[in-house]
């Protein structure tokens, strides 16, 4: 294959491919996971290698909501409103133990996982997760929105 050659494909595949490498994240950082996110966007780990470096601080310009940190009941309607303000198509990554399950805050004030409020595409475990884990989550999300199923490794019987 060389420059000037023609390939045939379907338009939805091209659109998905385009979306995949131009995720615009909106950080919703409430705790230490957001500090890890700073590492991910900075040069060491560099989220832009995966095309998701254009951090927007307005939900109306973003299509990837990164929920990083503890979400309590008082914040829940705010998070929901921010999610609703994002244009379709949109995706959500729940980063860290707190956002995914409430973490060790098993008490009266903390929502036990943001999936009580909004749908989540990828969960990232860890307290806080390593930056590589967030990169991995973004790669997983890219596979998901391209429609690629995860590789299954058959374990020997």
């Amino acid at each position: 294959m060389q420059l000037g050659d023609i390939i045939t494909t379907r338009i939805d595949e091209v659109v998905k491919w385009g979306r995949k490498f131009s995720l615009w994240p909106m950080p919703y950082g409430t705790a230490c996971c957001a500090i890890e996110f700073m590492g991910v966007v900075s040069s060491h780990f560099d989220i832009s290698r995966f095309g998701a470096e254009l951090v927007r601080f307005s939900p109306r310009q973003a299509d990837l909501l990164l929920v990083m940190g503890t979400i309590n009941y008082k914040q829940a309607p705010i998070l929901k409103r921010i999610y609703e303000q994002m244009c379709e198509p949109k995706w959500v990554i729940s980063m860290g133990a707190c956002a995914s399950s409430g973490g060790f805050y098993d008490n009266y004030s903390v929502v036990q996982g943001i999936d009580e409020i909004i749908p989540v595409d990828v969960y990232v475990p860890g307290c806080p997760p390593r930056p590589e884990q967030l990169l991995d989550a973004i790669v997983k999300l890219q596979q998901k929105l391209q429609g690629i199923k995860e590789n299954h490794i058959e374990l020997p019987a």
Binding site: Y73, K74, S109
Partner: protein
């Protein structure tokens, strides 16, 4: 040396219900109706001048007859000493006078004690919940608040409603 406690006993005698002094950690249990006077005395008396309200908190001791306690921590920037005052409050008489007239800082602390324990501060200008949301039911730091109880997701604040 227990400067502040001695002065308190001298001036308020029967209103000082109990005192304790562990390694200079002065503590006094004060009668509820005298607390504002006692704190004003500590703040305004020359040689004491407890002019810094460091903390105000509630506490719950379910086994006691007077179940709740309000704890005041004062610090004197003049003599560099601390004092802790406690007031016991019964559950059926959960009202205590506010000390906002003495320390403006007490405003939010009293709201917190109200939010967490349901202790009402008489004369408080804006006694509503501060940490939890308005529709929250119960007072979560009470010992009989169920550990597994979870509130409903609240309705949005008017500011973020459509």
């Amino acid at each position: 040396m227990q400067l502040a406690l001695d002065r308190l006993k001298e001036n308020f005698g029967p209103a000082v219900l109990e005192t304790d002094n562990q390694h200079g950690n002065e503590t006094a249990v004060i009668a509820k109706d005298k607390i504002v006077e006692v704190i004003r005395f500590l703040r305004d008396t020359e040689g004491l001048e407890f002019n810094f309200m460091m903390d105000l908190a509630g506490a719950d001791y379910p086994e006691r007859e007077e179940r709740f306690e309000v704890v005041y921590h004062l610090y004197s920037l003049k003599i560099k000493k601390r004092i802790r005052l406690k007031v016991r409050v019964a559950e059926n008489q959960l009202v205590i006078p506010t000390i906002i007239s003495l320390y403006k800082a007490a405003n939010w602390f009293e709201r917190e004690a109200f939010d967490m324990y349901g202790i009402r501060f008489e004369g408080h200008p804006n006694l509503k919940r501060i940490l939890t949301f308005d529709e929250f039911e119960g007072h979560p730091l009470r010992k009989d608040y169920p550990v597994n109880k979870r509130p409903k997701i609240p309705t949005p604040d008017p500011l973020i409603k459509v």
